[in-house]
């Protein structure tokens, strides 16, 4: 299929990609950019594993055409940490043991982040309502809910990853 150029900011860097009209944002991120933290889980918007941020909003990248991202700010799980510093929600996921197999984790963190941006200290009901479209088969969700609710505690405490 004929390719066209799409331009968007990916994790803070302006980028250009040659894409077909039917290329999904998910596949461009994973296959062209090799950012494999964004997962394919179902391809039809049932599980949320492919969640990324587009202009600060949670988007299912398996349902988004790459050409639709023209001019947008796209952030993936790899772009969430600032340099070597973890996002507070990433840290909260670790402290709350909200990670088991980890396959749903990037999507969970990305959608949880968008809730925290609007509501820094969400109630459990708010978390459940915001994240009900995300599937996890391992954890039973309690640890994930606690991680999102507790992330506010880390907003002021930085954690640096071990040195490169």
């Amino acid at each position: 299929m004929k390719k066209q150029i799409v331009r968007f900011t990916l994790n803070g860097t302006p980028r250009e990609f040659a894409v077909a009209a039917n290329d999904l944002l998910l596949n461009v991120i994973r296959e062209q950019e090799k950012l494999t933290g964004t997962k394919y889980g179902c391809g039809i918007g049932e599980c949320g594993a492919c969640t990324v941020h587009v202009d600060g909003r949670p988007v299912l990248s398996c349902l988004k055409l790459a050409v639709e991202a023209e001019g947008c700010e796209v952030v993936t799980i790899e772009g969430l940490a600032q340099g070597r510093e973890l996002d507070p929600l990433q840290r909260s996921f670790l402290d709350n043991n909200a990670v088991q197999c980890g396959y749903c984790t990037p999507g969970m963190i990305m959608i949880g982040r968008t809730l925290l941006d609007e509501t820094p200290n969400p109630t459990e009901e708010e978390v459940r309502s915001h994240m009900r479209g995300q599937l996890c088969r391992c954890t039973g969700y309690a640890s994930i809910a606690k991680a999102v609710m507790g992330a506010g505690e880390y907003e002021t405490k930085a954690f640096r990853m071990p040195a490169e």
């Binding site: 179902c42 996921f93 459990e124 009900r132 954890t139 039973g140 809910a145 606690k146």
Partner: protein
């Protein structure tokens, strides 16, 4: 070592793979890509049962695709799960099928430079099918004259005919069951049914294969055992094992569905070998849902008791619809019978199990294997007996369960051991207190729209399938580990054992750290593959920490002895006088002599001394099999709320207990229980799969939402899920540990059914207990109450016979 001396075991450190998982840098099978890689797609049968008359791939090849048909693959029949030993291994499949036996069965495959071109090539392939009788029920399968789904299967080198589509039968007899029932004063008999639910692991099965210049292959795939995958691929494609390298990558959940080599793996290898270049096959979710489901069950359980409740005889008949292939029906049937035998003391028992083929998605292991099915029947019937006799179910079960000193059947009659650790009384008393067991309502006493009920069930899973016999095993069960000391005093743990996500590898690293006496962060988990690691059978049967951890402990003991040997030389003391302890300030292990305090050095100093003096690397490579299979006990108390207008059942609270011996990763072990509740709730209340009786098609068509995997919205509030652990020590486990993860789900469906009975006074013998079933049962109850109040004869089934 006393548990009080353990530093890493039992601590709350971040799991070692945590950082890579929260940052998206962890690599799973779908994340693998290699240079010059093509993409494979699989042609799947639209027919449930059909002969393949002809295949024409010329149009696909004209598009530049490489095609793999039945004519291209080795004709060797194999079983994809080589955990069972050859006499117990029923081989009934080939890489691609000679005949379509279920909708979604792989008929052929294509590879092309892009996934899009591969898909176009797939659509250009022409296959002519001659449809056969579609068999979707056990009754149809067993009927005389039914089309055979398999004519023969291969068993231990012999071609064995399949009659009436019966794949396997097993019987187990203990004592004299006729005499036992003759002594019974009351007999209870019920039939229980469980469904064929989907595993719903987040990672769809994916594989990449790269042919190597020496004729070998490198494979990255979804699997619970890299070594079994390697052995099978070597057998199928006639490759020596030193030319088959399967690489360990993170597993995005499996829950049993990758104990076997997944169907796409050998197909991808066949395509890559034919194309002479790397090929990747990434299953779609739809394909994955057509590939594996849980073993269902239909179990008739009859228990004979004395008036005081003492069990005198039991009979269980189990019939299992295994779908189109026999992946592990033989061990399943054995496991089912063995789990039943291990729940309550039964002097006389008779068990018969039968596994039947159908034209549906093949069944395979799923968390708990046959245990949830056995627990459902036994725990519900024991609850019913307790109620009939006016006994408290908790007290009744505590009086008759198989505990300390009893015999536990790890997974069928071939794996048995004496029970040496038993936290059941503590689990049940604590759970009862936490949930408020004594304050639960009387069954059927409520009248409002919303009715709450509390139910309990208990049980276990085995920790591995180890046993004492030197030969004649039904299953392979051993693990290996390599531990080496690096030149700065850090250690590498090299182990092929797969972590499903429960934190198994992290737990084993802690065991190694504590045995040697270094801080937990000093032990790293090495990436590895089949070439650089020792064999591990597979992560199943909750054996990871118990069996895999024991192998690593054995290697760690050897490494420790070597460290002490060299430190003793340097410090000029006897090795027996030295100890190693982690020093938090130094962030190191310190070797010292308690009697001569100045004689001390760090483990790093020992390593550096060895290095600069060219004395070699301290390392150990050990392999071992556990000779026991201790029960990892678990208890479930759940509170449900039933909406009698909609029929919906909400899970409100739960108190979940685990006796996993020493708790190596407390928060992660607790997470196993909470995850077990979520999956158990789905299994009990909503999840199901249906196949069209005419076409044999999966009614969901592969849409995940129709599989009804529970979401966060259906979970109880986080603080309403309480977990607790028994204070036990398993003498045969590493630092007293036994299994946890699989047990975490086993009593769930029984606990839910008992809770619903407590809320409504109605017993359900089939899961899922859907809103439709609840409303129908309530209508029946109402009609019955009307009839009773008008003095008419009761039509409800009487719970007690004789």
């Amino acid at each position: 070592m006393l548990s009080t001396e353990l530093k890493s075991v039992g601590d709350a450190s971040w799991r070692k793979d945590g950082l890579s998982k929260v940052t998206g840098s962890e690599k799973y099978a779908p994340d693998v890509s290699v240079d010059r890689m093509w993409h494979g797609r699989v042609l799947r049968s639209p027919h449930a049962h059909a002969r393949i008359v002809s295949v024409d791939t010329s149009a696909a090849e004209a598009l530049g695709a490489v095609c793999l048909t039945y004519d291209d693959v080795p004709k060797m029949r194999y079983n994809e799960r080589i955990v069972s030993t050859p006499p117990c291994l029923y081989r009934d499949r080939t890489v691609v099928a000679d005949k379509a036996r279920h909708v979604g069965e792989a008929v052929l495959a294509v590879a092309a430079p892009t996934e899009e071109l591969a898909e176009r090539a797939l659509r250009a392939v022409r296959v002519e099918y001659a449809p056969l009788q579609v068999i979707t029920t056990m009754e149809q399968a067993l009927k005389d004259g039914a089309d055979p789904i398999h004519d023969t299967v291969l068993l231990d080198g012999k071609d064995v005919p399949i009659r009436n589509n019966v794949a396997v039968q097993r019987t187990i007899d203990v004592g004299d069951v006729e005499k036992g029932f003759a002594e019974a004063e009351l007999v209870f008999e019920r039939t229980f049914r469980t469904s064929r639910i989907y595993h719903a692991q987040m990672e769809p099965k994916t594989v990449t294969c790269r042919p190597e210049i020496d004729g070998g292959i490198t494979v990255w795939c979804s699997t619970q055992s890299i070594h079994n995958t390697r052995i099978l691929l070597g057998q199928i494609y006639g490759l020596p094992l030193n030319k088959v390298n399967v690489v360990k990558v993170a597993l995005g959940g499996a829950f049993g569905s990758s104990i076997q080599m997944n169907s796409v793996t050998p197909i991808c290898v066949g395509l890559a070998l034919k194309a002479g270049r790397p090929v990747k096959i990434a299953s779609t979710r739809e394909e994955d849902m057509h590939d594996h489901v849980r073993y269902p069950s239909q179990i008739t359980l009859k228990l004979g008791v004395r008036k005081d409740g003492t069990l005198v005889a039991g009979e269980m008949r189990a019939e299992i619809d295994i779908g189109a292939h026999n992946i592990q029906a033989y061990p399943f049937l054995g496991g089912l019978g063995g789990f039943w035998a291990s729940l309550y003391k039964l002097p006389n028992m008779k068990y018969s199990g039968r596994a039947i083929y159908s034209n549906k998605t093949p069944s395979c292991a799923m968390q708990g294997f046959g245990a949830p099915q056995a627990h459902f029947a036994v725990e519900c019937l024991m609850d019913e007996i307790a109620h009939a006799l006016g006994l408290d179910p908790v007290d009744y079960k505590l009086r008759h369960y198989v505990g300390l000193g009893g015999t536990f059947w790890g997974q069928g009659p071939a794996s048995k051991c004496i029970i040496r650790s038993d936290g059941v009384p503590e689990l049940l008393r604590t759970g009862a207190e936490k949930i408020g067991w004594d304050k639960r309502p009387k069954p059927g006493s409520q009248t409002g729209r919303m009715r709450r009920g509390i139910g309990m069930a208990r049980g276990f899973h085995t920790s591995g399938v180890g046993h004492a016999k030197a030969s004649g095993a039904e299953m392979i069960d051993y693990s290996g580990a390599i531990v080496k000391l690096n030149e700065d005093g850090t250690l590498d743990l090299i182990q092929s054992l797969m972590d499903h996500g429960g934190g198994t590898n992290h737990a084993i690293a802690k065991i190694v750290a504590d045995e040697i006496g270094v801080p937990g962060h000093m032990v790293g988990i090495s990436p590895c593959d089949t070439r650089t690691s020792l064999y591990d059978v597979t992560t199943h049967a909750t054996r990871g920490v118990y069996a895999g951890g024991a192998a690593a402990l054995k290697a760690a003991k050897s490494v420790k002895a070597q460290i002490l040997h060299w430190a003793a030389r340097v410090l000029d003391v006897l090795p027996e006088s030295l100890v190693i302890e982690p020093d938090d300030n130094l962030g190191q292990g310190v070797v010292y002599c308690p009697n001569l305090a100045e004689r001390r050095m760090t483990v790093g100093d020992v390593a550096r001394y060895l290095h600069i003096n060219s004395l070699g690397t301290i390392s150990a490579s050990e392999s071992m099999r556990q000779v026991n299979c201790p029960p990892a006990y678990v208890s479930y108390f759940v509170e449900v709320e039933v909406d009698t207008e909609t029929g919906q059942i909400h899970t409100r609270r739960a108190a979940l207990g685990s006796d996993c011996g020493t708790v190596v990763n407390p928060a992660l072990a607790s997470g196993q229980l909470v995850g077990g509740l979520s999956k158990g709730q789905g299994y009990a209340l909503i999840e199901d799969n249906h196949w069209d009786p005419v076409t044999g098609e999966l009614a969901s068509k592969g849409f995940w939402v129709d599989g009804k995997t529970p979401s966060m919205a259906e979970a109880p509030l986080a603080d309403d899920i309480m977990t607790h652990f028994a204070h036990t020590y398993e003498p045969t486990g590493p630092f007293g540990a036994k299994g946890v993860g699989e047990a975490a789900k086993n009593p769930a469906i029984a606990a839910f059914a008992n809770a619903v009975h407590n809320a409504l006074g109605i017993r359900f013998y089939e899961v899922p207990i859907t809103p439709e079933k609840v409303l129908a049962a309530l209508a029946g109850q109402e009609a019955q109450q009307r009839d009773t109040s008008k003095g008419r004869a009761r039509t409800a089934p009487a719970p007690v016979a004789e």
